[in-house]
């Protein structure tokens, strides 16, 4: 397992775990970030990411990207 932020642009990866337990985690889940979901990074900007999840593009900051493990 490694944080999503270490993954390369364009590579398909599967979410293994999302750490933490707060309303942000729930919000991420509503947006499609759930364990077992296949996602890919569209672009990186200094640690901030644009992620393709369930055919929508979600922008995440670096700290949040580090909470998603693949």
């Amino acid at each position: 397992m490694m944080p999503l932020s270490l993954s390369d642009v364009g590579q398909m990866v599967v979410i293994q775990k999302i750490s933490g337990n707060d309303e942000v985690k729930l919000h991420l889940a509503e947006l499609g970030f759930v364990v077992g979901e296949e996602i890919s990074i569209v672009n990186k900007n200094g640690g901030n990411l644009i992620v393709n999840v369930k055919d929508s593009r979600i922008a995440l900051d670096r700290n949040l990207a580090n909470r998603i493990y693949i």
Partner: protein
């Protein structure tokens, strides 16, 4: 009896587009999540539906609100219960959108799913089997393309039928195995405490430990304990928290549904055109320069002094020709026909009051329209959300979220929607801080002020407009750094999560409509508020006491027996102007009132009664600052000069102000308390009188300190202001500012870190 139908769906799924189509209203539409922050009601078009009301709601991802505008939707759906729901599902993004659908179905309200953006779905090569989808969801599904108006008739017929029949969808089982058993058990425990219609919904909410839902049920403590036991057991056996368990169950169910009904044309993870654009636009290196160029181009085209600056060209035409010759000429002729002679009260009221005041404002409408048009295009393309993303990396270093940038960008059009856009900010402290600083941005109504100062004093230099913009952004960033060091605002900003909508080519009609709607509201204001305040300003400036005689100051000034040399000298002394510059208006009521307060602005370099009055009238509407100038500098009564309002007053304005004083005046008026409309919006969003006053006080204080530093220290530097006590005060202010910027400040404790706006306002 009326029928209420609510539009519910994910942000940016096209609810407002459909709402406008169904009701004929013109609510604002934009291509970024969070455009609609309030619910809007409208009557359905068509004679057969005259008792049907449509309710547009802010977009939501689920019935558990994450940001403030989502609370509005949840409250409406759960407690006010519409007769039917139209659930708009973005067809290009079905899986994520159906998440909300599964929750809405549990509400047991008649519902129709509108599968929107079908034109794009076909273009992407995807196919959706509507019949299979409808079968799998247990509710009706209608294909729709709200933007093109396809499928709306069929949709509304089904929705109205569903509302009339009151038939709810056949529930399909979303949950499975252990989870279903647990929720069933909880439903049993809750029993008669819940309305049987909402038992299932409440049981799931209780399983998720949703405090609001549990509170509404008034359960006994033994019931609560039993429920908690069931939850704990299930959590243990599934090794996950209850909320995640339900989320996973929903997505598992949805995967099953889409497997039956949806075929994707594109392989998963394949780059779309939007993605390719994003690779460049949100690039780590290019992102910021691209944004800077975009903003510079917008201001250059709207306000610059080049050949591409169509806004400036149109404004010059309006000022020189329409309000320079045509309108005053027309009124001259018209008044002549009715025998109203120059010098009479009525002539003065119309030409010097209304035409001069309104003309000074209307002249800037072309520039505003160009600015609004360009901003509308920017919003419609889908660039706004990208800007927030690109700026987040920078803003976060100062303790701000990139999301705070969207209200700022919206505020470059108008401060009121800018203030309201702050609802999408999750962290309560950041939201308050954004409310306090958003109106620093130069809004459309402040353009005339910039235009006047740039034109009259700086020879139309485009750098004045650009500097106004950077002073706005700079003030927001510096305020962010300073305020974050106080305990009330300390803490890291909420994590940045934001959906980026796909880029699309802006629709011509949509962009033109948005431009016109905003521009029209300015023109309407020019015809109402500005007329009234110009008339009041004119009256107060036309009447006064000259050497003990009350009346029209212009006429009294012509009487040599009243206006003696000693009186002129005394007046010049009182008004602080050279004796040869004294004119009739200096004896007016307005001059004496303004003069009484003007000492406040003396340290800023414009302690004269005219700019003082203009600054105060700016509270009514910022463009009225220029309207007031139009009236007050239109004093020369020689025949040919009368009526040249726009640029006609520029030489006189230039005479009265040194460049540094004019710049200081501009800074103060750009940054100080916004107009009453924006103050009202801040008050509504703060929902607290103390905070509202704090916001107004902070903005005015900031404006004063900055203008003083610029005038005193900048003036000393360029040799316009002599060294004196003002220099010392300016230096002290600057030192204090630097101290506040660089001090260590309050360190946030763990508890301070994330104060959710939804919880804070519950």
């Amino acid at each position: 009896m009326g029928i209420k139908i609510a539009l519910a769906g994910n942000p940016n799924s096209g609810k407002t587009t459909l709402f406008n189509d169904l009701t004929g209203s013109r609510q604002y539409v934009g291509n970024w999540p969070g455009v609609t922050v309030e619910k809007k009601e409208g009557k359905l078009k068509g004679a057969e539906y005259k008792d049907v009301v449509i309710q547009d709601l802010p977009g939501i991802y689920s019935l558990s609100p994450y940001t403030l505008e989502e609370v509005v939707s949840r409250t409406y759906l759960v407690t006010e219960k519409p007769d039917a729901i139209i659930n708009i599902v973005d067809g290009t993004n079905i899986e994520r959108n159906l998440y909300l659908t599964t929750q809405l179905l549990e509400l047991n309200i008649p519902m129709v799913v509108a599968l929107n953006m079908m034109d794009l779905v076909r273009k992407n090569g995807d196919t959706v089997n509507v019949k299979a989808l409808s079968e799998a969801l247990g509710c009706e599904v209608v294909e729709l393309s709200a933007l093109k108006g396809e499928g709306t008739d069929a949709l509304i017929k089904r929705a109205v039928d569903a509302a009339k029949a009151g038939k709810t969808s056949q529930s399909r089982e979303v949950l499975s195995g252990n989870v279903k058993a647990a929720v069933d058990k909880i439903a049993e425990i809750i029993g008669s405490a819940s309305d049987s219609k909402f038992l299932r919904f409440n049981a799931i909410k209780a399983f998720e430990r949703d405090e609001k839902a549990i509170e509404g049920l008034n359960l006994s403590s033994s019931q609560k304990d039993q429920i908690e036991k069931v939850i704990a057991e299930t959590e243990k056996s599934m090794d996950d928290d209850s909320e995640s368990i339900i989320t996973n169950e929903r997505y598992n169910y949805i995967t099953g549904v889409t497997a039956k009904a949806v075929k994707k044309g594109r392989a998963k993870g394949e780059l779309s055109v939007s993605d390719k654009i994003d690779r460049i636009v949100t690039n780590r290196v290019l992102g910021l320069p691209i944004f800077a160029v975009v903003m510079f181009l917008i201001y250059a085209i709207a306000m610059g002094g080049w050949s591409v600056s169509i806004g400036t060209a149109a404004t010059d035409f309006t000022n020189d020709v329409i309000f320079g010759e045509w309108v005053p000429g027309f009124f001259d002729a018209l008044l002549g026909v009715f025998g109203v002679v120059e010098g009479s009260v009525l002539y003065g009221l119309i030409q010097d009051g209304i035409v001069a005041g309104v003309g000074a404002v209307i002249g800037f409408v072309p520039q505003m329209l160009v600015l609004f048009l360009l901003l509308a295009i920017l919003e419609d393309i889908g660039y706004m959300a990208r800007v927030a993303f690109v700026m987040d990396r920078i803003f976060r270093q100062f303790g701000l979220s990139g999301k705070a940038f969207i209200p700022c960008l919206v505020a470059t059009g108008c401060g009121v929607p800018g203030v309201m856009a702050s609802r999408t900010i999750e962290n309560e402290r950041d939201r308050k801080m954004t409310l306090m600083t958003t109106t620093f941005m130069p809004c459309g109504a402040k353009l005339p002020i910039i235009g006047l100062i740039a034109g009259a004093v700086f020879g139309g230099s485009p750098w004045i407009a650009a500097s106004a913009y950077f002073i706005g952004i700079g003030s927001i960033v510096l305020s962010g750094i300073i305020l974050k060091k106080f305990k009330a605002f300390a803490g890291i900003p909420a994590p940045f999560v934001m959906e980026l909508p796909a880029y699309h080519i802006p629709s011509v009609s949509g962009v033109l409509r948005a431009t016109w709607e905003r521009g029209w509201s300015f023109i309407k204001r020019a015809g109402s508020v500005i007329v009234i305040s110009s008339v009041i300003i004119w009256f107060l400036s036309a009447f006064g006491t000259v050497n003990g005689h009350f009346g029209l100051v212009d006429n009294l000034f012509e009487d040599e027996s009243i206006v003696t040399e000693s009186y002129i000298n005394e007046l010049a002394d009182r008004m602080d102007v050279p004796a040869e510059d004294v004119n009739a208006m200096d004896a007016s009521l307005l001059a004496s009132v303004g003069n009484g307060v003007s000492f406040v602005f003396k340290p800023l370099g414009f302690g004269n009664w005219k700019p003082t009055v203009a600054t105060v009238t700016g509270l009514v509407a910022k463009e009225e600052v220029v309207g007031t100038f139009g009236v007050l500098y239109n004093y020369d009564d020689s025949e040919e000069e009368l009526g040249e309002e726009g640029e006609g007053i520029w030489p006189r304005v230039a005479e009265d102000y040194t460049p540094i004083a004019a710049f200081s005046f501009m800074i103060f008026n750009l940054l100080c308390a916004p107009c009453f409309a924006a103050i009202g919006a801040i008050k509504r969003e703060m929902n607290n009188a103390k905070w509202t006053w704090a916001a107004i006080g902070y903005m005015t204080g900031w404006a004063y300190v900055l203008a003083l530093i610029v005038y005193q220290l900048g003036g000393l530097f360029v040799g316009e202001v002599a060294f004196g006590i003002g220099t010392v005060v300016g230096a002290i202010f600057l030192a204090a500012l630097l101290y506040l910027l660089f001090r260590k400040g309050y360190q946030a404790t763990e508890a301070d870190k994330n104060l959710n706006a939804v919880k804070a306002n519950a």
